[in-house]
Symmetry: D2
Subunit: 295 residues, 4 copies
Amino acid sequence: MDQVSLDTLNTLDKAGFVAALGDIFEHSPWVAEAAFAARPFASLAALYAAMQDGVRSAGDERQLVLINAHPDLAGKAARAGTLTADSTAEQASIGLDRLPDGEYAKFHRLNDAYKAKFDIPFIVCVRRHSKDSILREFERRLAHDQAGERAAALGEIFRIVALRLDQRVNAPDRLKVHGRLSSHVLDNLAGKPAHGMALELYEVTSSGATGLLARGLTNADGRTDAALIGGRPVPIGTYELRFQVGDYYARAGVAQADPPFLGVVPLRFSVAEPEGHYHVPLLCTPWSYSTYRGS
Amino acid sequence: MDQVSLDTLNTLDKAGFVAALGDIFEHSPWVAEAAFAARPFASLAALYAAMQDGVRSAGDERQLVLINAHPDLAGKAARAGTLTADSTAEQASIGLDRLPDGEYAKFHRLNDAYKAKFDIPFIVCVRRHSKDSILREFERRLAHDQAGERAAALGEIFRIVALRLDQRVNAPDRLKVHGRLSSHVLDNLAGKPAHGMALELYEVTSSGATGLLARGLTNADGRTDAALIGGRPVPIGTYELRFQVGDYYARAGVAQADPPFLGVVPLRFSVAEPEGHYHVPLLCTPWSYSTYRGS
Amino acid sequence: MDQVSLDTLNTLDKAGFVAALGDIFEHSPWVAEAAFAARPFASLAALYAAMQDGVRSAGDERQLVLINAHPDLAGKAARAGTLTADSTAEQASIGLDRLPDGEYAKFHRLNDAYKAKFDIPFIVCVRRHSKDSILREFERRLAHDQAGERAAALGEIFRIVALRLDQRVNAPDRLKVHGRLSSHVLDNLAGKPAHGMALELYEVTSSGATGLLARGLTNADGRTDAALIGGRPVPIGTYELRFQVGDYYARAGVAQADPPFLGVVPLRFSVAEPEGHYHVPLLCTPWSYSTYRGS
Amino acid sequence: MDQVSLDTLNTLDKAGFVAALGDIFEHSPWVAEAAFAARPFASLAALYAAMQDGVRSAGDERQLVLINAHPDLAGKAARAGTLTADSTAEQASIGLDRLPDGEYAKFHRLNDAYKAKFDIPFIVCVRRHSKDSILREFERRLAHDQAGERAAALGEIFRIVALRLDQRVNAPDRLKVHGRLSSHVLDNLAGKPAHGMALELYEVTSSGATGLLARGLTNADGRTDAALIGGRPVPIGTYELRFQVGDYYARAGVAQADPPFLGVVPLRFSVAEPEGHYHVPLLCTPWSYSTYRGS
């Protein structure tokens, strides 16, 4: 759906406003209707707060209807293609629409267990997760009690909505829904940024398999021109950065052992805060390296 | 074959001496016969030098016979089990006796190319290599000229013999044929050696596959009780050490992110000198780590 | 003297132009006169180049006059206060106007030796140096021959002029005459920037004495709000950064030894390129630290 | 006094035994007399335990006499040279016998304050301390109550005695009274130990003054041949190791800036456990270095 500016939203009548934002909450245009009364909005944050207030003041029963308006994760609807546009894109972002049969069955079982215990669908802000972390989240939340889990479901709905709003509405302020994963390579042999070092970012799953997420080449400042992950939450999960240290020093004409002591240097780390900045630098020589969570 | 002491060798008559060491050079008891004249040997190094002298002074023709007495690498004899005992053990040490068909064919092609060019079998001291490094060695040596390659073949025969002698003969001195791969974990959070951290050593092949070579647990001094590889050459190749840093800090009760920033920390490096000491320490905190070739 | 904009300079008549820039070259308004012909100047760099061209095309004799128009370093004129305004400020910037008698005598001797050999005053761009590096520069240049030293003197004059121009003329572009000395503290115990750590920057002289140059306190990003040295060349010389690591961890409530293993951490390094960026970070825990030339 | 072996002690009669060990406790031969009954001693530790038992079972009054048999720290007796031989050597080890007048007065004041509060002399095991740490210890202990301080005094007497016994008696076991300060330099540019790097160890006092304690040169393994401090307790205090990194790389022919970025690298740290092993390595390149408390 097209972007709309906050200024435009502030001038629309109720019908126009609900046409523009009615689908932000899954199958629940009444939340946009409720928020309309708080017009005009000084900021995107104010609009978001008004929508949250609309839900909070709607009472238990209506909140339950809202929760139940959400589809199963990796459920039949995802496979059948009958989700809302937003849900389709969100579930597809980590492959929940095309799970191998074994994993599909696993999600199915967990969904059933969850519904049996709480009588609501399992809701999670998919864009903040990898498949592995969603499975852990399932287990963690299955241990909740009814009230705790109702609150958790609303919390996740608000996270989903924040991401949708931030994407849909053009405003001077942004909701703090994005994180960043970046790197930086310092060549401690030359005492300056490593220029022209190739690097790759991989996702590491619990099964040990890896999937390539991004490639980069360091510029004169030792950084990649763009963040490796940016403009979105950094999914909770485990990552491996791989740096072509051996090739870099070979091209620089540095004498190395054959094969060089350091060829591909992997840095493995996990992300726990999708809205955080994960800066993972590499300091290296042909015989040593170090890393740390930087800033 | 049983060990024999240098003292005993020094008292044996020629027949006994050749019975004890005649098989050290592949199918070539004449080298032991030639060395016998230099008795008594003050050291294992002196015995080894006498055998090398025997070969060097034997002339081109006899050296060629010695070279041709060696079997093909990963050849039919290895599959058929008709190698000498030493050759059998050596080739088996990196799986040359049980190659998958594709790799067997590759070795076969390289052997043929080598023989077509040099008219001698390709000889390499297998215990100093991984499969990958032997394939690189094949390519490197195919670029030699006839004279260079004759010298290379003798050089490899002397390496094979040094390892066989060092294993067979009990003497106060040792030939410098062994290397060492060790690690050490310093916990920079606590300012002391990391005690009780699990670690694993993997071989990393050019295809990216990995094979577990050793497991260890750090003792109170932050080291494994035994070297990860020791008492033999460290095969030329690429290795990955994997440290259970996240579990270590969890057991120590240190507050960490969920999942912890550092779970399994991999250190990847290559070995170029099989007789060297590769000490690869890990200095770590829950948020940083470094490594270097130590001593 | 007040700043003047490049636009204004481009509209002035010759008299006005020389009035504005005639003193940029020491006692040599003819350089501004010569440059006037190249008006208008598209940039500060173009103005600077025109002035350099004026000197280069003026011939040996006139260049010699220009060179001789410069005062002795730390000479009688400096003590007597009869230098040009610019020279006064420049020499005072490293205390050449108030040397202790012993050092004054040393400069005097070096000036005499230099004049005896080259028959010109020793010229150096003082703002790029510390006292120690000027003394080393004296010795280095005393080894030159006549021609090499004439070129060196002109080179230093151009450096002096570049700094004066960059300060005097307001233009969209800047001459690259400034360097930067900055730091950054990462707390590898907490996995984030160290906030609130006090640090000091000292000059370290060859005699071992130290002088405090700057104090700072790290902000939430682990940096000082302003560069420790910036907006000027970083004088060639040796520096020591001192960080209050022990106090920082004590305030954070981290258990430490008594006294803490790390109290004040000194990082000592030297600057060789006054126009470079010297970023010297500290990565620390209560039991370890590291540094490197960063970017 | 000469060493005596544990075997010899076990064969001596009471008079001989007391003659050999009567002065171990300051002016208190009765402790040796009491310990004599526990003969023979299986180990030095057993002898030490028997002497401690002798004091513990002697009752408050006698313990007070023992405590009062100790001289003032840096008192008149030290200046006048009328201490026991052991006390003389101990106080001299950190210069308490030749304090400048200002410091002498300070010790005098603290001694008086201590005596006024506790009516016993201030006793501390001097060999475990620097002057600074003794002054801090004075302040710390002035805050004790009477009972706590009586126990502290006995504890220090036992430490003094352990050091005297360990030095006097030749036995297969040793009392754990010695610490160790050592270093190790890894050259991360070359990937091996730094051979031939000069280093110095300085004491750093609270006033900022420094005193040279030891010099060393790294051997082929990157270590000094002997510990920088060893065979004694490492005095509580602050130390600075200074490494000639710039000279080392200059001699190795490595291209460096002029002056080199790293010339003298200082590592500053404090010792809190005199019986501990303080291993403080330097990992360096011409542009980076790191250190940590090692093992």
